[in-house]
Structures are given as structure tokens and as C-alpha cells.
Subunit: 212 residues, 2 copies
DNA sequence: AAAAAAAATAGGAAAAATCCTGTTTTTGCA
DNA sequence: TGCAAAAACAGGATTTTTCCTATTTTTTTT
């Protein structure tokens, strides 16, 4: 039995190189490659283009891996998605798994592990490396993500705080009193244990609440 | 004639996938792959391990592409280095080329272009895509990099400004008067057209003067 | 509808940051 | 060695930020 694989990655060289690698494996062959989620979904309109496994990059322009995986999970649940990324931060990995990915491979895995992952995801329905498994376990116990700790309006404020606007100007664009903005800031400082706005900006960028 | 290629990249999957791809080309074959610059230099101690071309990733732990390329340029100038990266910011590309790379490929190039690059770098000694060529031309004309615009001591101050320290505290660790620190800040604000410290932090992170 | 919880708002004070206009000290160099 | 430029430093005013405590308004729950 030969299983079909589709590769979705905006880096074409990586796509093609990965394709060569997968084609070397027995039992697996590449059906085609795509540059982003939109292209993939377009392809899926023809049933012959629906593969057994999708190797999905997380960071892509136009339609990223998380959105794309969610869509596949809802509409083509028989397709196994393996996430593939250089991102190894907890938040990204968790988002991807919650979206329905059956495994998460870091881009520094070895050839053998890729083959293993493809085989297991077909046979068992999932594949997780030790690294990812550990992150999963950790995420259950200790700290929560900024998104759950902070409120919607606070997250919005943080994005504005990562600009040159004064708090008064932020209050204007958010249509709130400057004193309310101060309230947001104080509550955030408290929750995140920060001393000042500079600390907040660094925190926001580290945790991808704001992308510079 | 068969030319030898070495791949240096900390992402093992990419290395191996790239290896498969290069081995598909006529006239080229992969000698071995490395995970970082230190490994490569260790390998080079044996003359049989010295290839015709090195495909070098820019971002690597331990010893990055820039340092490694400099070392090769000084000690093994007959080896052609082709940089390979997802980074497409001017500063990185220029640094890599100044270090002696004979070409700079973005990771979203196509298979055909990689082959073209390998062939040309052997034949002509260099290969540049239109994108990179444009960046080179642009860099000659207009704006200069932050590193040349700002002074050594100012760059050091910027790193401290990207923390929760007050200016007084920064003055202490830099062993200067708070008023001197203010002088630095004012001169930087002027040169970079910034309004406040938040703007400076964002600028520093965007231009990689500070890595969060 | 009343009670409780959450969100928004205020006053006021102290600290820090910003922005002027200068002076002193150090350094490079002819 | 002396002069000019650069670097370091200062006083003082204004604005912004930070940090208290407390009140009003809105929303949710019972």
C-alpha cells in the first residue's frame, strides 16, 4: 500500500527538498506541494487531490498552518495533519495541536524520525516526539498562557502600548478614559510582575502579543 | 566532473532533505552535512573533507553562518560559500556577503534555481538573485545601517534601554552620569526620529540591536 | 429587583521621562 | 602644545508615567 503525502510550506526549496526525502521512503509518495493554506484548500476541491497525510508548516503568509489545520479538521477529518516548524514555543505548539494536528515535528528532526512519524500517524493516528510530549505535560500543570491570563481589552491595550502613543492617546483611540487605561496597565503590571512600560513591550514581543 | 557539496544547517530535516535534492542534480553530490560552524571547521582538518561548495545557513547556534563564512574565507578561500536563509533583511544579507559568501539564496527559491546557483558559483565564482542584487544596489544609495549611524556607546545604551531599568540605573551600570545617559537618548531620538523610549525599544528589536 | 462582581472612572502625589539651554572635561590632531 | 571637536555633565521646566486609594457605572447572578 502506498500512502500519499502533500507538503504545505511557503519555502519552496524546503518543500521540494522534503519531497525528495519523502519519495525515498517506501510506502509514501508525494502527491503535490503547496505554498499556503489557500492553495491547499483550492486543491482539495478535486477528490483525487486529497492525500492521506499533510505535512504542514506553521508560519505561512496568506493562510497560516493553524487556520488551515482547523479547516481540514472540520472538513476533511480523515486527513492526518503533521505540523512541521522551527517554532518551538509552547504557545504555538499547543495552538497547532488544539487545531487538530496529529503531531508536531521540529524542523531539526532526522530523516528517520520523519519516516517514523509518517508511519505512526497512519497506523496509530498520532505521533509525538519526547520534546513535544514534555511540553504537553508541562502545559497541563504550571503556568497559563498570556491569552487566558489577560482579558480581551487588556490584550488590545497592550498592542497600543507597543507604539509611541502616550496613554492619553491610547485612551482616545480606544474610546476610554485615560484613568481606565491606567487601570488596565496597573492590572497587567500586577499580573505579569512588571515594573514599567518598557517591560511590558518586551513581554508582549516575547509572547507574540505584538509582532514588531 | 562531479563537484562536492557540504550542507551546514542546524535543522537536520532540512539538511537531509536538501541533501536528497542536491544528490538528484548531475555533477553535484553531497559529501556530508553539519549542524553548525564548529562542526564544519573540525571536519575541514582532514583535507578529504574540503568540498567545492558549502551551502550555509545563516542562523545557527554555537557558531553562526557569518562567523563561519569569515573563517572559511580567510583559511579556505578556494571553497565557495552559498548562504541560505529565511532572513531577508538587508542587514543580514550584507553582513553575509561582506563575510565572503559568493551568493545568498532565500529559502523559498525553487529547485531549478538552487541548481543554477551551484553551477554558476562553480563557473563564475558568484551567483546573485534579482532580489539580492536589488538589495545590494539599494544599500549603496540610500540609508545606512543603525550600526554605522549610531556610536558604540549608544548601541550599548540601547540594549540597557530594552530592560526595565530606569535611566538612573542604566547610568549606574554604564558608570556614567544620568545626564550623559540623557544625552545619548536625546541624540538617538534625534537620529532615529523617535518620540519616546517605547519607540526606541521597538526600533531596537526590529533592527536586531536587542534580541528579546 | 436586589446583591454581587466587574468595568470604568477620579484625585492627587511622587517618580521618571522628556526637552530645553548651557558648561566642563577629555581627546584627537596639526 | 594648543586648538577644535567630541564626550560628559548640569540646572531647571514640563510632561508623562507610575502608584496609591476610592467612587461610579455597568453587567452578571441569584
Amino acid at each position: 500500500m502506498n500512502y500519499s503525502v502533500v507538503i504545505v510550506d511557503d519555502h519552496q526549496l524546503l518543500s521540494q527538498a522534503l519531497g525528495s526525502l519523502v519519495n525515498e521512503f517506501e510506502n509514501f509518495s508525494v502527491l503535490y506541494t503547496c505554498r499556503n493554506g489557500t492553495e491547499l484548500i483550492e486543491k482539495f476541491k478535486a477528490p483525487k487531490n486529497i492525500p492521506d497525510v499533510v505535512l504542514m508548516d506553521v508560519n505561512m503568509p496568506i493562510m497560516n498552518g493553524i487556520e488551515t489545520t482547523q479547516h481540514l479538521h472540520q472538513n476533511f477529518s480523515q486527513v492526518h495533519v503533521l505540523a512541521l516548524s522551527i517554532e518551538e514555543d509552547e504557545a504555538t505548539i499547543l495552538k497547532m495541536l488544539r487545531s487538530g494536528a496529529k503531531g508536531y515535528l521540529l524542523k531539526d528532526v532526522r530523516k528517520g524520525e520523519l519516516k517514523q512519524a509518517l508511519t505512526e500517524v497512519i497506523q496509530k493516528g498520532y505521533y509525538h516526539t519526547n520534546t513535544v510530549a514534555k511540553i504537553l505535560v508541562d502545559s497541563l500543570s504550571e503556568k497559563q498562557s498570556p491569552e487566558t491570563l489577560l482579558k480581551e481589552r487588556e490584550l488590545e491595550f497592550i498592542k497600543h502600548a507597543c507604539t509611541e502613543m502616550t496613554y492619553k492617546e491610547i485612551a482616545d483611540v480606544m474610546c476610554l478614559s485615560p484613568k481606565t487605561i491606567e487601570g488596565y496597565r496597573n492590572s497587567i503590571f500586577e499580573k505579569l510582575n512588571l515594573r514599567n512600560r518598557t517591560g511590558l513591550v518586551i513581554y508582549a514581543i516575547k509572547h507574540k502579543l505584538f509582532i514588531p
